[in-house]
């Protein structure tokens, strides 16, 4: 056992963490229409490796990683072998999930299901809003530790992977109570007849009748916007709402905006490096559980910034704010608690200040 801390936690099962690094994140048209960042596979592999030190040190036994053809998982596995052969390893066992890669979003979803079924206590997700959304859709109750490597990064954390690794390990080993480590998120549900889908940040109704290249980058095409939360320092469509009425991740409310030709003009950072003016002629608070009808006659619906659904004349999609969205790891409060409780320090170290 490599663990550097006492292992007096519940371990009648192996402590397993899943890691999903979406190799395709960060390649959409916003590389062209904006200056969105590009995360290389090598950087994603580095980030995963930065999780492994904390995992091993804090008693995670096994890490299941999604296979991919860009070499992220393979690089990690190779490093783990080298690490082990040098005998200096504090890394947990690494295993690639046995599954067929298709290169599509199904990969992330299949991997998440397999990890859940194998008993993973949390998944670390490296991706953008879209990656987190598709995973939350299939494993809604499995805690996600979020790391941004996508295009629109409102939902996931922008933070150093090492720290996320520490917090994740403290959570999965039960050293800190889930009431502190986890945060319950809101989500927006879209219903169109039988069809249902979710967004974690925003639902944008566009006048474009096709899904096309997915992103929404022309403000003139935006008709309606629903947000679960709106942080003024965020980027993307939710920042439009934030400039009118900021909403935290915790308050039980959402916001619904409709665009027009006359009304309040809002300047917002709708994409990396891009400030655009949007004219808002209607704004209302969304109450949880209420179904809000989309007024636009035809168009497409973007979930967390990517057009996913086309709807036609005669169809009325509805949007509902739900408070029981996916649980995510609250890295700041977890580490604050770790400090407060002295989890990472020996008792005598704590006595130094007295």
């Amino acid at each position: 056992m490599n663990c550097l801390l006492p292992t007096d936690f519940d371990r009648h099962d192996d402590v397993i963490v899943g890691v999903i690094a979406n190799p395709a994140s960060g390649r959409d048209i916003r590389r062209l229409t904006a200056k969105a960042s590009v995360f290389t596979a090598a950087e994603k592999a580095n980030m995963v490796q930065r999780l492994l030190g904390p995992f091993g040190a804090l008693g995670v036994d096994r890490v299941m990683i999604m296979p991919d053809s860009s070499g992220i998982a393979a690089t990690v596995e190779r490093s783990a072998q080298i690490n082990r052969s040098r005998g200096e390893s504090v890394w947990p066992l690494i295993e690639q999930v046995k599954m067929k890669s298709t290169g599509g979003v199904e990969d992330s979803q299949n991997a998440a299901r397999i990890m859940r079924d194998a008993g993973a206590r949390a998944i670390v997700v490296l991706g953008g809003d879209g990656t987190h959304r598709v995973i939350a859709k299939v494993v809604p109750e499995l805690p996600m530790a979020t790391l941004s490597t996508g295009t629109n990064n409102v939902f996931p954390d922008w933070r150093e992977a090492t720290v996320t690794g520490i917090a994740t390990a403290l959570h999965v080993t039960g050293r800190i109570d889930p009431s502190i480590t986890l945060r319950r998120n809101k989500q927006l549900r879209v219903n169109l007849g039988e069809y249902t889908d979710i967004a974690l940040v925003d639902v944008c109704v566009t006048r474009l009748t096709h899904v096309g290249a997915r992103a929404v980058w022309d403000p003139d095409t935006i008709a309606e916007l629903f947000v679960a939360f709106a942080e003024p320092d965020a980027i993307g469509l939710s920042s439009i709402a934030a400039m009118i009425n900021p909403l935290t991740r915790d308050e039980p409310r959402g916001l619904c905006l409709r665009c027009g030709t006359e009304g309040r003009r809002v300047l917002a950072a709708i994409a990396p490096g891009v400030l655009e003016t949007v004219v808002i002629d209607h704004c209302e608070i969304m109450q949880p559980g209420v179904r809000y009808a989309i007024r636009t006659e035809r168009g497409s619906i973007a979930l967390d910034g990517e057009r996913e659904i086309e709807f036609h004349r005669g169809q009325v999609p509805r949007v509902t704010l739900e408070l029981n969205g996916p649980p995510t790891l609250d890295v700041s409060s977890t580490l604050a608690a770790a400090a407060r409780l002295g989890v990472m320090a020996t008792p005598c170290a704590r006595e130094m200040l007295r």
Partner: protein, 324 residues
């Protein structure tokens, strides 16, 4: 805004894609009879790529194509009847029967040629784009190339040069999953061809090549950027081909039922039809009428191609500065 297509443009795009499809299906059938000579590489399945890109181009813009060039030619406005005659090796062909399927070109339409050399088009497009830039005429150059070609030095050198000279060039990587029998999973060292753009200092984006609208939007932005002096872009179009590498290929390297599944579930024409008829702006009958017209036009081009004369013997020694 490039993303909004009026009725007329939608019908034009549909006709273009249908023409390519019909042309290729017809060459496929005729090849099987043994009457068509040489190596023929069909573009069926990839129509949305050429169409989505070329809908943004005018006759003064240039494209460079590949050995799988019929679709690019048609989308750039080359006369399908002349192409058919060329494939049949006739004097009335686009290149008088001297070039064949792999070398169809029409400079008057800004079509710099299909190409028998994998990766041959990249440097050439840097050249047309350089000329456009020096003249300041706001035209652009588009290099179509395959996933296999993405590994060719010429393509990589061309992308670097395009950024160094800030050229109005667009690199369209048509990733159809195979280079002959070899998958990019094996031959391309990174996950996506688009990933390489970063290394050349240009944006790289990925689009679904079965979705005309996705290609159209991405190409629209790239062309706009190039025309405005913003420099080159790499667009990776993820797509597939319906037939073998060339006609006669047994395709043992493919999965069983692979193509049928794509035809049933993803086909670009099928998706396009479903999309544009959903709101009743365009009727299925209108599209059917286009199908019928295209079919008749292709039929006619084959009848003519078959009847047309072969080039005369004197043609052997012309079009070269001197022959010995």
């Amino acid at each position: 805004m490039n993303t909004e297509l009026n009725r007329e443009s939608l019908l034009k795009a549909y006709r273009m894609m249908r023409t390519i499809r019909e042309f290729e299906e017809r060459v496929h059938t005729d090849f099987a009879t043994g009457e068509i000579p040489g190596f023929v590489h069909l573009y069926a399945g990839e129509e949305a790529s050429a169409t989505g890109v070329c809908m943004h181009l005018s006759g003064n813009d240039y494209i460079a194509s590949t050995h799988r060039g019929h679709g690019h030619c048609i989308a750039k406005g080359v006369d399908p009847a002349g192409m058919m005659a060329e494939i049949w090796g006739k004097e009335t062909g686009t290149c008088k029967g001297k070039g064949g399927s792999m070398h169809i070109a029409d400079l008057s339409k800004g079509m710099l040629g299909a190409n028998g050399i994998v990766g041959g088009g990249g440097p050439l497009i840097c050249g047309t784009a350089l000329a456009a830039k020096l003249r300041g005429d706001k035209t652009v150059g588009v290099c179509f190339f395959g996933d296999g070609a993405s590994n060719q030095g010429t393509i990589l050198e061309a992308m670097n040069l395009a950024t160094v000279w800030n050229l109005p060039a667009i690199f369209v990587a048509e990733n159809n999953g195979y280079a002959e029998t070899t998958s990019p999973n094996y031959s391309v060292a990174c996950e996506n061809i688009a990933d390489r753009a970063a290394a050349f200092g240009m944006p790289g984006v990925i689009v679904d090549g079965f979705d005309f609208f996705a290609v159209y939007e991405a190409a629209g932005e790239a062309v706009k950027r190039a025309r405005e002096g913003g420099g080159p872009t790499l667009i990776e179009v993820k797509v597939s081909r319906y037939y073998g590498h060339f006609e006669g290929d047994q395709q043992k390297y493919r999965a069983e039922g692979e193509v049928q599944k794509l035809r049933n579930e993803k086909d670009c024409l099928m998706q396009f039809r479903r999309h544009v008829t959903a709101d009743g702006d365009i009727s299925a009958a209108e599209l059917d009428a286009i199908d019928a017209e295209v079919l008749a036009m292709i039929d006619d081009s084959v009848v003519r191609a078959k009847a047309d004369p072969k080039p005369g013997p004197e043609e052997l020694l012309t079009d070269v500065y001197v022959s010995y």
